[in-house]
Symmetry: C2
């Protein structure tokens, strides 16, 4: 049975070629805008110039240097700037890291006390600076959801928070801005968004036909177009389909009313915090482990997924489910990602350190809440 | 190529068993609420009692008697009541007709001049009373969009309008309230929502993979569950899937960036206004005509639709496309709907009167804007 749910998603999407010019209409008049971005690639590929051109007449400040897996420490510096410059609108120009950082800056600018508690203690927030997005890397879905993940360098922690007040007011999705992305980032985005769908789908059947159909459609699109983009990086349609699919993969619409399993995501956080793996790299390694270890729980949906995404139609359900795991790992390899911990120099000696954070946070992961630190260790052992 | 688009949909959905009780939290505190409903079936099936129970403590007024294909004249009476009772929140309890009427009442309550101009002249509106919905009949998608269709008895006209200010603040979707619906209404809802998807899908391919996948998924769900509901009217999952599919069929999400063809809808309006056919009945008659007359334009998508929805995989594309038309008409018949004008006593002598409104309104229908009144007449001739 589909569970009860209550949800809305008010983000305005402005999609298509040249849509950065829409900023002039989408940012509230007379705003004092802080443009937040990463390492400066937007200055090389022309996006920065397009943004400034569209925002002529607004009062503009800038904050650059948001890292991949954005740092709490960096966000706190931006909060100081927000207060100093009396900023009243934040514009994230970047991918998931920049958007997530902007969300955290948005709530921290009003939070009384240490904003780290929003992440570490789940302190509630009721107010945030309004924010908009110019998306440069389709992957995380952060442009159309109310979530963010932040890392703290000093303690090697990576934590998430979620609140409706950080829904972007708008997100601009121009597929052409993705032409210049490095291949590694494109491949990471494909794998990340594919796995977002898997995490809202690959549990047990509850007869949620619409949610299943949408999830299966997205997995198929991301798989098919993901393989094509490697050899056709300047094809508008492929880029447009991947961009729109990635947004729909985590605007939290396909997951309403169905069981979910975010264990690969959560188990992956320490791999990033302790070993510096890209977020998508952690997922490509761990998801096949979760699929294998939890095989019995996921067998029906694995077979269903295999038929739609990989055209696996021969054999008994169990065999088809196994073939789906093989095909999934092969897909990640085709996209150029590694799928074993050992390929990153991680050995069984590292697993205690990688799984103790799960204990500390008291997490019981998976759709049946039965993955604790010792189960996580066994899953990781399968991926050495 | 996918066209540029800009869109948001802020409607909060509260879905599931018992969700009418959520009214007490969803209606703004201290509101003076006008409950708007139809012929009184909600008093027989217990929905009315659930609504009143949930709204204890609010100041409540009522307006009943909204017709199928809601009348302008009736809406104007409700507007008088709104002003007299100082209503500041409208609650539609019903299906598409009640919701559409409520939207028109919401804008007419603030409109200066004759509100008919909103429909007849497309007069712009910038303000509406806030409204919420308790959905009793899944069909039109009105619970999650910004559109409404209103009929004027005195002139036998049926016209639509659309404005973001009439997006419901929330819509409550409890599948259990649909158990008691008469079979004819259930079947109408299935056909109506199926055709909503067709109208956003069955044009020419633009390589919009996500939009296509979502549309195909919805058509398949509505087709499969629609046939099941006839013999399993009290199956929660079937009702839940149909309800959620119908909302997604016209929350205008699947149609972003793709060509659309609403000609069956528009050509059907005079059939309702002049001959009293249910909205879905008009569609079941006309859609096969549009498919046949516009065959060459729609052949590729017809074949694509046939494969996913009806498992038509044998033969050349043209043959598969033809089989899809046959299967679509057969589906409507299986749902108990007539598919010929003559079955309603309409003859070729009536076609001039049925198509002149298209001329009067200057409509050029279809994805290529090439269906005028004479083409419409030829299409209808195919359906005698």
């Amino acid at each position: 049975m589909i569970s009860n749910f209550e949800f809305s998603n008010p983000v305005k999407i402005s999609f298509g070629k040249g849509s950065i010019a829409r900023l002039s209409a989408l940012v509230p008049e007379k705003s004092s805008v802080l443009i937040i971005y990463g390492g400066g690639s937007i200055k090389k590929n022309g996006i920065y110039d397009q943004v400034l051109e569209a925002l002529k007449g607004f009062h503009i400040s800038e904050f650059s240097g948001i890292e991949a897996n954005p740092h709490y420490e960096t966000c706190m510096k931006a909060v100081e700037l927000v207060k100093e410059k009396h900023i009243n609108f934040l514009l994230a120009v970047g991918g998931g890291s920049v958007i997530d950082a902007t969300k955290f800056i948005a709530v921290s600018s009003f939070f009384e006390g240490d904003p780290w508690n929003i992440l570490a203690k789940g302190s509630s927030v009721s107010k945030a600076l309004p924010l908009g997005v110019v998306l440069t890397l389709p992957a995380t879905g952060s442009e159309m959801n109310e979530r963010a993940v932040i890392s703290r360098v000093s303690t090697k922690q990576k934590l998430n928070f979620s609140t409706p007040v950080v829904f972007p007011k708008f997100s601009i999705l121009d597929p052409e801005v993705t032409y210049s992305l490095p291949l590694r980032q494109v491949a990471n985005g494909v794998v990340d968004s594919f796995i977002h769908v898997v995490e809202q789908y690959l549990t047990y059947p509850v007869n949620a036909k619409v949610q299943d159909a949408f999830a299966e459609g997205l997995m198929k699109v991301i798989h098919d177009e993901g393989l094509k983009v490697l050899t056709n990086p300047h094809d508008y349609d492929i880029r447009a389909n991947l961009m729109w699919a990635a947004t729909n993969a985590l605007n939290v619409w396909i997951g309403q009313g169905v069981p979910q399993d975010w264990s690969s995501h959560r188990m992956g956080y320490p791999l990033t915090a302790q070993f510096g793996l890209d977020h998508a790299q952690t997922l490509a390694v761990l998801l096949p482990g979760v699929m294998t270890y939890m095989f019995k729980d996921k067998q029906i949906k694995l077979a269903q997924m295999g038929e739609v995404v990989f055209h696996i139609t021969e054999g008994r359900e169990e065999e088809r489910a196994h073939q789906t795991i093989v095909a999934t790992e092969a897909f990640f390899k085709q996209m150029g990602l590694k799928t074993r911990l050992s390929e990153y120099g991680i050995t069984s000696d590292d697993l205690d350190a990688l799984t103790t954070p799960i204990d500390k946070l008291g997490w019981k992961l998976g759709e049946h809440h039965n993955i604790d630190s010792s189960t996580a260790k066994e899953i990781m052992m399968l991926r050495i």
